[in-house]
Amino acid sequence: MAAPLELSCWGGGWGLPSVHSESLVVMAYAKFSGAPLKVNVIDNTWRGPRGDVPILTTEDGIVSQPAKILNFLRKQKYNADCELSAKQGADTLAYIALLEEKLLPAVLHTFWVENDNYFTVTKPWFASRIPFPLSLILPGRMSRGALNRILLTRGEPPLYHIQEVEAQIYRDAKECLNLLSNRLGTSQFFFGDTPSTLDAYVFGFLAPLYKVRFPKVHLQEHLKQLSNLCRLCDDILGSYFRHGPMGISPAGPEMIDVNLRKLTQLVNKESNLIEKVAFLHHCFPMDDNLRQSPQLLPRKLPTLKLTPAEEENNSLQRLSP
């Protein structure tokens, strides 16, 4: 590639590389397919585009929606779907349509329309990344756009009231989450052991819902009960976004991180609680570098995924000085 591809998108928070679903989809796909993307996070300055984000800037021009960006990357031979069969490719398209029809209205509602969430979390976050005076206008416009989309696709003319459709969209979203969980089952990614486009889309839609702390959370609680979907998000975050979206890695314990990654994958099949907790206390004080990593701390309490099985005692003892 002559010039690097640049992606402009919204930044991250709460442990995610980006809080915006579509940006996250593109970033995840780029990581899965190995495309070298330079990520420009939209910040408080006047540089950079703001509408229609994420945007990929290439030497030939600008590509704007996630589906088109993914198509463009595929044409440049960065294809995360090369191991899929034709039927699996068809399934991908179908499941993406399911996500957009059933889950997206509820996600948009949780982020942009629900008053508590919008005024306490979403609006301040976006407003802090948009320069004044656009910060007064743009979040409001995005919120109205989200409301519009929900009403036009779900509301019944000519009334268009949000209350009528709220219950229905949340019901649909919960059903969609259940269907995804059924489809994922116990496998690591949707189509075997390597992540594909569908994993990117599911991650993009679910991760903000999973991680961002909202006051009104009933959809988030439903998601947390579906442990295999949460595990998928954590796996992708841990394996592909460990070093932050820029791809900068801390000089030093690369070997440790690789071992830790293998460890967590093996540990998922192990279930001895007491040994895990004891070993956890033993292993964390040893290495400050591991403790600083933002991905580890939140995972310590709820999922206990970092704790090793008995067999792995040797490799971890090798890590501690």
Binding site: A90, Y95, A97, L98, T153
Partner: protein
Amino acid sequence: MQAWPHFPDEETEDAWPRSPCRGKVLSTLPPRRFVPLHGGLATEPWPENATLYQQLRGEQILLSDNAASLAVQAFLQMCNLPVKVVCRANAEYMSPSGKVPFIHVGNQVVSELGPIVQFVKAKGHSLSDGLDEVQKAEMKAYMELVNNMLLTAELYLQWCDEATAGEITHARYGSPYPWPLNHILAYQKQWEVKRKMKAIGWGNKTLDQVLEDVDQCCQALSQRLGTQPYFFNKQPTELDALVFGHLYTILTTQLTSDELSEKVKNYSNLLAFCRRIEQHYFEDRGKGRLS
């Protein structure tokens, strides 16, 4: 006016398709499992006089509405439930949700394929009982794919493509009404559809991009169908009814250009699928309708 598929009893309100064993239908149905709902209303057996309402077949109905109506008729045929098709100019306004088709069964009115499937299931008939959880998830996903891509493409072609909208859609949509109401209603509907397209991000698409999406959708359906007779092997489900409704309507409707039906004709297993369902479930309508 373009030639729509010509159904013999266009002007009369006879049932289409005519089921051969109308009088004996109740006794030949398998024993039903009643699921009481809302004080037992759902436990009533399927009445003889169930009716399906749609717009006027000859002059008024549009591509997308015809597809939806055909999907519901196919579904009810697959469940062996008799229904009479009635054409009314104001069917859209009679419907509880504003969308056609809707069915009037006993004293309940249900519109659109999704709620109709659930209603029929509450009465004890279901086509997808034999599927396991993963297959049900797939079926729902593919139904959303058809709704998301095919239906939206049909709406785009009808209302947002200037050539088709001007020549065919406006004239058909407003045909039962006198001037100036016919123009006003047509423009109002067009404005509504364009608003929806813009909200979901299809506002800036060109016709070629839309046709490419249709092609992708048909390719996905064709790959999923493979060489099987129906999408979930031996038994048809509501997904088969939905796909049949849309594809058959696309294939048999003449628009200003043939590009849409050409896209579908590229996939021979989809053509065979439509022919198979037509022959199996709508037998007395004549074979060889698909050219």
